[in-house]
C-alpha cells in the first residue's frame, strides 16, 4: 500500500516548497497549503475505505522486514485520526488567508503549519517508538514557534512556558525509550509489545508506563500539568489555537497514550481495573477543575482553553471506562471535540479580526453585525454542551452507555451533570458577546473565514445526523482496533506487505 507514506511526505515536501514559492508569488503559498490539506483529506477518505477491507496495513520503509526496519502501521484508529487531522488542518489553512493579513512573513506560518501536519500524521501512522518521538518533536517544535508567531511580549512568554513544559515531557519520553530499549533491545512497537508480556506486572513494566503517561499527560494538558495551555491558546494566532485545541493535544497526548495502554502494554479493563480507575480519576479531575474555573474567566480564548481541558477529561474518562462503548464514545469525542472546539476557536479569531479584542466584558452587540460568526459559535457551543442531533451528544451518550454497562452508574450521572458546566460557561460568551445589545463597529468576517467556519458547522451537523454511518465505518472499527489489544503485534508481523 504505497499511499501511506504520502500522508507524511506530502506536507513535509510542501513545507520546504513553500519558502521558494513565497519568493516567487505570495498568494501561491496559501493556495498550496490549502490544496495539500485538501489532498490529504481525500487520501484520508481513501485510507478509510481501504481500512474497511484490510484492518491493518503495514508499510515497510526501504523494504526491511518489521523487527529490524522501521514500519508504518496503519490500522483503523490511525485512519480515523488521519481523517480528523486533515479536516482541521484544511479548515485552519482556509481560515488563515485573511486572518494573517495583519502579520508579516506569512510563508513562515504556512511552512510551520505544514511541518506540524507532517509531524502529527507521522505520530499516528508510525509503528516505531523512536520514530514516534522524532515526529512528536517535529510537531511540538513547530507548535512552539507558531505560538510565538505574533512576537508580542505575551506570546513569547506563553511560548517559553510551553517550551519548558513540552521539553520536559519530550526528554522524559526519550529517557523512557532508552529504558525500554535497554530491556527489550527493540524499538518496533509490535516487537516491544511481545517482549513486554514477559515482564508483565514487574516494577519495570509499571514504571515505564507511568513515565510515558506522565510525559503524555503534560502534552495533553491534563489537570495537574495544564498551566502551559492556558497561556499558549490565548496567545497563539486563532487558526493555531484552533489547531492546537482541536487536534494537537489529542494527537500528542491522547492518541499516544491510548495506543500505548491498549496495544503496546496490552492492558484491559478486565485484567487491570485499578489502572483504569486511575484513568477515570484523572479524567474527572480535569473535567471538574477546568469546568469550574472556566466560570471566572473574562477572556474569550482563555475561557475556551479551560473548556478544552475539561473536554479532554471526558475523552480520558471514556478510555478509562474501557469497554467497547466507552472507547467508542471517547473516539467519537475526539471527532466531536476537534470539530466543535476547532470551530469555536475560529469564531474567536473572527471576533479578534473584526473587533480587535477578546475581553468579553468589552465586546457587545456582535450577534447582529457578524451573524455567520454568531451562528457558528452557537452550533459549536451546542455540540460541546451535547445537544442532539449534533455529534457532541452522541459522543457523550456512548460514554454514558459505556459507564452504565461497566456498572459505574455514578459516573454516568456525573458525566451528564458535568456537561451542564459547559452550558454555563459557554452561555457567558453567548450573553456578553453575541446577545448583548451594544454599539459595534465590527465588520462581518471576510469570505474565506466564513467558508472555513461554515464548513465545520456543516460537518458537525452532518456527522451528528449520520452518526450511525460514522460509528459503523469509522469510529467503530477504530474502537475495535484499540480493544484488539495485543493482537496488534501479531497483525503487524503477519502482514505480508507489498511495498513498491
Amino acid at each position: 500500500m504505497a499511499f501511506i507514506p504520502l500522508f507524511i511526505a506530502l506536507p513535509l515536501f510542501s513545507a520546504f516548497l513553500i519558502p521558494i514559492l513565497g519568493k516567487i508569488y505570495k498568494p501561491l503559498v496559501w493556495l498550496l497549503s490549502t490544496a495539500v490539506a485538501f489532498v490529504l483529506f481525500v487520501l484520508a477518505l481513501y485510507g478509510v475505505a481501504v481500512s474497511q477491507e484490510i484492518s491493518m496495513v503495514v508499510y515497510k520503509m526501504g523494504n526491511w522486514p518489521p523487527p529490524l526496519g522501521i514500519v508504518m502501521a496503519y490500522d483503523s484508529f490511525s485512519a480515523f485520526m488521519v481523517l480528523v487531522i486533515s479536516i482541521i488542518v484544511f479548515a485552519c489553512s482556509m481560515f488563515s488567508l485573511r486572518f494573517l493579513s495583519t502579520y508579516t512573513g506569512n510563508w513562515k506560518f504556512y511552512t510551520l503549519l505544514m511541518l506540524m501536519t507532517a509531524g502529527m500524521m507521522g505520530i499516528v501512522i508510525t509503528g516505531d517508538l523512536f520514530n514516534m518521538f522524532v515526529f512528536l518533536e517535529i510537531a511540538a517544535l513547530s507548535s512552539y514557534a507558531l505560538v510565538a508567531f505574533g512576537l508580542k511580549g505575551e506570546q513569547l512568554e506563553a511560548s517559553f512556558k510551553y517550551i519548558v513544559m513540552g521539553e520536559i515531557a519530550g526528554l522524559i519520553f526519550l529517557l523512557t525509550i532508552a529504558l525500554i530499549y535497554a530491556k527489550t533491545s527493540t524499538l518496533n512497537l509490535a516487537d516491544i509489545s511481545t517482549a513486554l508480556q514477559f515482564a508483565k506486572n514487574t516494577t519495570f513494566f509499571w514504571m515505564t508506563l507511568g513515565m510515558l503517561l506522565f510525559a503524555f499527560s503534560i502534552k495533553a494538558a491534563l489537570v495537574p500539568f495544564h498551566s502551559w495551555l492556558l497561556d499558549a491558546y490565548p496567545a497563539a494566532p486563532a487558526p493555531i489555537s484552533s489547531l492546537l485545541a482541536g487536534i494537537c493535544t489529542k494527537v500528542f497526548g491522547i492518541y499516544t497514550s491510548a495506543r500505548i495502554i491498549f496495544n503496546i502494554f496490552g492492558l484491559s479493563r478486565a485484567n487491570d481495573p485499578l489502572f483504569f480507575n486511575f484513568l477515570i480519576g484523572l479524567g474527572l479531575l480535569s473535567i471538574i477543575f477546568a469546568g469550574v474555573t472556566a466560570f471566572s474567566q473574562n477572556d474569550y480564548k482563555r475561557l475556551l482553553a479551560y473548556s478544552s481541558i475539561s473536554q479532554v477529561g471526558f475523552i480520558l474518562l471514556g478510555f478509562g471506562i474501557g469497554n467497547y462503548y466507552g472507547v467508542l464514545g471517547a473516539i467519537l469525542f475526539i471527532l466531536a471535540h476537534s470539530l466543535a472546539k476547532g470551530l469555536l476557536f475560529l469564531t474567536s479569531g473572527s471576533v479578534v479580526h473584526s473587533a480587535g479584542t477578546t475581553d468579553i466584558k468589552k465586546l457587545s452587540g456582535l450577534g447582529e453585525r457578524m451573524s455567520t460568526t454568531a451562528w457558528s459559535f452557537r452550533i459549536g457551543a451546542l455540540s460541546v454542551i451535547g445537544m442532539p442531533p449534533l455529534i457532541g451528544f452522541f459522543a457523550k451518550l456512548f460514554i454514558i452507555i459505556g459507564a452504565i454497562k461497566a456498572g459505574f452508574l455514578w459516573i454516568a450521572i456525573a458525566a451528564g451533570v458535568l456537561s451542564l458546566l459547559s452550558l454555563g460557561y459557554l452561555l457567558r460568551i453567548e450573553n456578553n458577546v453575541f446577545m448583548k445589545k451594544g454599539k459595534s463597529e465590527a465588520k462581518p468576517a471576510p469570505f474565506t473565514m466564513r467558508v472555513a467556519m461554515v464548513l465545520l458547522v456543516v460537518l458537525i451537523v452532518l456527522v451528528g445526523v449520520g452518526y450511525q454511518t460514522i460509528v459503523d465505518y469509522i469510529a467503530g472499527p477504530a474502537a475495535h482496533a484499540l480493544l484488539r489489544g495485543l493482537e496488534y503485534s501479531h497483525m503487524v508481523f503477519n502482514y505480508f506487505s507489498m511495498s513498491f
Binding site: 510565538a148 535497554a182 497561556d231
Partner: protein
C-alpha cells in the same frame, strides 16, 4: 554503575536549575544538562566493556560487538536537542528585547 549514577546526578542538576533559577539563560542551560544526561544514558545502554566496534570483518569471528543502534538514536536526539535549544534561546532573546530583563519574576504579564 558509577557512570549510570553520574547520569542521574547530571539529570538532577539540570532539573534543579530549571526549577529554582530565575534567569532564563540558566533555565536553558538546565535543559541542555538534562538532555546531555538522557543522551549519555542512552549511549551507555549500548555499551559493553571490552567489546569491539560493530564492524563485521570476518563472518567466523565471535560476535562481541557494541550495540550500534543507541549511538544512531543518540545522534538523532542530539540534532533534535540542537533545534530545541536554538528555538529556546531565540525566544529568550526576543523576550529580552521586549522586557529588557532575563528575570522570570519580572516577566509575568500572563496570569496562568
Amino acid at each position: 554503575m558509577i557512570v549510570f549514577a553520574s547520569c542521574i546526578i547530571l539529570f538532577l542538576i539540570g532539573l534543579y536549575a530549571i526549577v529554582t533559577k530565575r534567569n532564563l539563560i540558566k533555565i536553558a542551560i538546565g535543559f541542555v544538562l538534562i538532555e546531555y544526561a538522557v543522551n549519555l544514558f542512552f549511549a551507555l545502554v549500548g555499551f559493553k566493556k571490552g567489546a569491539l566496534a560493530p564492524i563485521i570483518t570476518k563472518l567466523d569471528t565471535p560476535h562481541n560487538f557494541v550495540d550500534p543502534i543507541p549511538q544512531a538514536l543518540v545522534l538523532t536526539a542530539i540534532v533534535i536537542g540542537l533545534a530545541t535549544t536554538a528555538l529556546m534561546l531565540t525566544v529568550i532573546l526576543r523576550i529580552y528585547d521586549r522586557y529588557k530583563t532575563f528575570d522570570i519574576a519580572e516577566i509575568k504579564r500572563l496570569k496562568g
